[in-house]
Amino acid sequence: MTGILKKISQINFGLMSPEDIRKMSVTKIVTPDTYDEDGYPIENGLMDPRLGVIDPSLKCRTCGSKGGDCQGHFGSINLARPVIHVGFADTIHKILRSTCNTCGRILLTESEIFDYREKFKNLIKNEESLTKIIKEVYTVARRDKCPHCEEEQEEVKIDKPVSMVEGNYKLTASEVRERLELIPDSDALILGVNAEKSKDGQQVARPEWMVLTVLPVPPVTVRPSITLETGERSEDDLTHKLVDILRINQRLKENMEAGAPQLIVEDLWELLQYHVTTYFDNEASGVPPARHRSGRPLKTLAQRLKGKEGRFRSNLSGKRVNFSARTVISPDPNISINEVGVPKIIATEVTVPVKITEWNLEEMKGYILNGSNLHPGANYVIRPDGRKIRIYDEIKETVAENLEKNFNEYTGEGSYVVERHLKDGDIVLFNRQPSLHRMSMMAHEVRVLPYKTFRLNLCVCPPYNADFDGDEMNMHIFQTEESRAEAKSLMRVQEHILSPRFGGPIIGGIHDHISGAYLLTRESAIFNEDQVFQILRKSNLPIPDKTGEKWTGKQIFSEVLPKDLNMVYTAEICRKCDECLKKECKNDAYVVIEDGKLLTGVMDEKAYGAFSGKILDHIVKEYGTDSAREFLDASTKLAVSGIMKAGFTTSTNDEEIPQEAKERIEVHLDHAEKKVDLLVEAYDNNELEALPGRSLEETLEMRIMQVLGEARDKSGEIAESYFDINENHAVIMALTGARGSMLNLTQITACVGQQSVRGGRIDRGYSERTLPHFQKRELGAKARGFVHSSYKKGLDPIEFFFHAMGGREGLVDTAIRTAQSGYMQRRLVNALQDLSVKEDGTVTDNRGVIIQTMYGEDGVDPAKSDYGKVVDLDKLVDEMRIKSEK
């Protein structure tokens, strides 16, 4: 681009004066037509050639540059009568209300004016916001009598959108303009209109400029017409609107000149006001929107800017990028957590720029010779002169030749850049929206794979919050060496195993990884050597020498543990017995690892699950992220092998209990319901004693809730006692933390329990009762939403209805919670985004103002801490004890 370079010294935001508009206008627009019969633009028409050109073959008649370079020039329409600008109608109304109708002075006494002027001076000096004080002026400056000319004032009301009504008389735009003209510059300032004249006599704004006498006509580049395939011209919505304005303006002028009756002139004036109003904003309240012939409302100026699809949110804040891809995701347990599977179609489309050097010349030549369709190929080369050449099959040989010819072995100067296809090992950025934390965007290594979905390791589902029910994710390809290096050291998945939120792992085993590890490491798991070698081979672990002995699952799992690992902890399946038997635990929940050998205990969620994996956490912190990645890759594969060797399935049979158990539960629930009836009876007879600080009703509710809660829990316990963790897969999943909870199982088996709305028993619906099936004021268990049945047995209609009430509340709550917390987070992020931690631990904002003299007051990086603590003393003591015991 050529042109004159100028430096901006100042920007004024203000109103445009009629003179400003005329000055920037290159032509007056008079004719409401666009093109003549031959298809040439009409002079002084809306497509006047002086307004700029779009066609690159034409030269602009105003600036002389070619189409595309010419940014267009404004024209203007002289309005026959003034018209109020919709955007300023509110401001005009406020100003009229606060100024005298005869002398135009502000309705404040001289002393008040003096006070406010001082306040303004101070605020401007301190560069503080004026909005608050201007608002105050508008409320104070309202009087029945002008303090300056003693004239009686009448209330001016606004009739949306643009009519000003004084008493019963509707002010015309001309009258409004005359009144605004009367306001002295010094009074205008207090009303929030900066009318002070600068030294060269320039003014930023005058109140009367809010009433239009001249209308600027945007250049054709702003409202291009499109030629349809049929050869028909279709004009932009703005052009249509301008045609309307011109037509009415013309008629109004003719009628006025002909001396038409006042009534007709006023009607036309009103119409002109309507057209100008909708030209600015076609969604202004109180005006029917102007429509296209087809009935579609026109998209005028305000609509271009407003809302999600408007200029700001869509074009200025929202950016689209090249070198990115988006597709559905699906799982692949065989790739590393650091990798992402990229479909071949995508790999041949997005490219990495590579500068030719002595060392990659041959390789790059190979890519070029492969062309742009064969996979490890190249799509473009960029010549030293900056020209980009697409590689077609016909020219690929010549391109490759030129590449070699032009390459200067010694200087490497003027060498080509090849945009080659994505290949295995490239580093890319992978993202899933909503990007709520830094783990939503991580760097992965590419694995080019067949089919059309991105593939990712299951361990990275928690940080992205991804599942495979149709989720899509985005991939971005780094274009510079610097970005690649930075991504590799800071953004790789393995660097984010520990979350900065709580100092524990957020990446880790999920679902089948957990149940699999449990099946592999439980006491009964014994494998013969062939099976062991198969499992180890699948996990890419070294195969030991044959000994002919059987292996325990714990021995197999020990193969992935670091050789000098020492740990003691209680597993997820720990039943929290009153007295812990430690190593003799009958549930095998006491985990002891000595010198990398798993001696007792099973592997479950506490071992390497996302959010709570203790071994994983320990490995990241003590052995580094590389070891942690290897551990995760290998251990999850072991777990998958383990679950495949054992076989794993679940059905409602897992929630089946013997008849005897059902009877016991029934007896128990009946007993509880009777107890509730007794409580209600006691309440009715006024025998109930209120708890301290509670009313009688509250006491009753609490007691009933307690009884029913206990009944649900007890019935669950009964059902639980018939479950066997060695046989029942649903129970394995619940206890190891893989999926589901014991509560889920007992609700299916034994009793669903009390439904609640607003944190209490259900007490809404009909007058004094929940449903017509009950007596008024009935307080029994069933009448207030206690679901006696189990999911498996099935709910009766009344129970079903209460259950739906509770369920609906849950849904509404989650919907509201996400919306609220999302906005809360947005505000927090906006407030904190520029803060940075300096080397000495001080937190400053972008101006260097100190926020905190020590980060988090203790200077600890939570991602490197032990669950938020600087040190975990218990852990250290345990480790030392193990070492000293040896």
Binding site: T842, G856, E857
Partner: protein, 77 residues
């Protein structure tokens, strides 16, 4: 009935630093006084300990992470 707000458990200790202490502190944290967080001179605590604009207060408060934490604030109009 007027209570001494300085004795309230939620009000941390505020101490006005002497000029020499201020220079020492600012040197330690490598900052100008203007970069410090501000406190209004009509803040109830600032008023009751008699701090004037331009003073630097040393505030010692209880901290959930560090146990005890010392921070500084500049009194402004």
């Amino acid at each position: 009935m007027k209570k001494d707000i300085l004795k309230h458990e939620l009000v941390p200790d505020h101490v006005i630093l002497s000029e020499s202490e201020v220079t020492k502190v600012l040197k330690k944290i490598e900052a100008h006084a203007e970069q410090l967080p501000k406190i209004n001179s009509d803040d109830p605590v600032a008023k009751s300990i008699g701090a004037k604009a331009g003073d630097v207060l040393e505030i010692t408060r209880k901290s959930a992470t560090a146990g005890k934490f010392i921070t500084y604030r500049l009194v402004q109009d």
